[in-house]
């Protein structure tokens, strides 16, 4: 299990390799990356977070996913700072014997990150910037796992 809150970008290949290395019991690796989308003239996004609490929350979410889906391992990397359109914000990886658990674990991690990780996004179109509103939809999506 690896958690990282960082400014720099990541390599999916390197992270997968580090998780899989030395073990022959993994059949399924699911990954999800979230990217900055350039809707409505948005050119970049700034992510603020709550240092200390963020790491605690990511750790708790990852542990929960491991248990719920009997994952063999998982990873969450969440970036902060200013990111341009097309840049990666978040990466989750899940390892399992079966593809169903790997997919479900990754989807769970993403759904929970949306409502349980203390990050706030501010979008900018180059002239003005605006805090992103939380989506009621994300709250409902998260609740379906309860």
């Amino acid at each position: 299990m690896r958690i990282s809150v960082q400014e720099q970008d990541f390599s999916i290949d390197k992270e997968v390799e580090a998780l899989v290395r030395g073990r022959g019991d993994i059949g399924a690796v699911a990954t999800f990356s979230g990217l900055v989308r350039g809707d409505n003239g948005i050119t970049q996004m700034t992510l603020e977070h709550y240092p200390g609490m963020t790491e605690k929350q990511l750790e708790a979410i990852a542990k929960d996913a491991m248990k719920r889906f009997s994952l063999d391992d998982c990873l969450i990397i969440h970036r902060y700072g200013t990111l341009k359109v097309g840049e990666r914000i978040v990466l989750v990886i899940t390892l399992s014997k079966s593809r169903k658990a790997a997919f479900q674990g990754a989807e769970f991690l993403m759904d929970w990150l949306k409502t349980q990780a203390p990050f706030w996004k501010k979008e900018s179109n180059g002239n003005e910037s605006k805090w992103v509103d939380a989506k009621a939809e994300d709250k409902h999506t998260q609740e379906k796992w309860k």
């Binding site: 979230g34 603020e48 609490m53 993403m110 203390p118 990050f119 939380a134 994300d138």
Partner: protein, 83 residues
């Protein structure tokens, strides 16, 4: 008591962190926000719409009526938008 502000709340108040000692009758997050609102119009504006606020006590998401005490770390912020 250490109080942290994030996102819109941080911008509205104009600081990200402060250490305060509220009076003894301030025993919940809500009570803290009420006390701060009486002190200064900036707080009053920032805390006006309570539905749009969330809190964490000692780095754990907590309801607005959660108890708080001397030495706690309280954070006030809008609903999170990570992931």
């Amino acid at each position: 008591m250490q109080i942290l502000y994030f996102s819109r709340v941080r911008e509205a108040i104009g600081k990200d962190e402060e250490t305060l000692t509220p009076p003894a009758d301030v025993t919940t997050v809500d009570g803290l926000l009420n006390w701060l609102s009486t002190k200064d119009e900036g707080y009053e504006q920032a805390f006006k719409n309570r539905d749009g606020l969330r809190a964490a006590v000692n780095q754990t998401f907590s309801p607005m009526d959660a108890p708080i005490k001397h030495g706690d770390e309280i954070a006030i912020f809008p609903p999170v938008t990570g992931g």
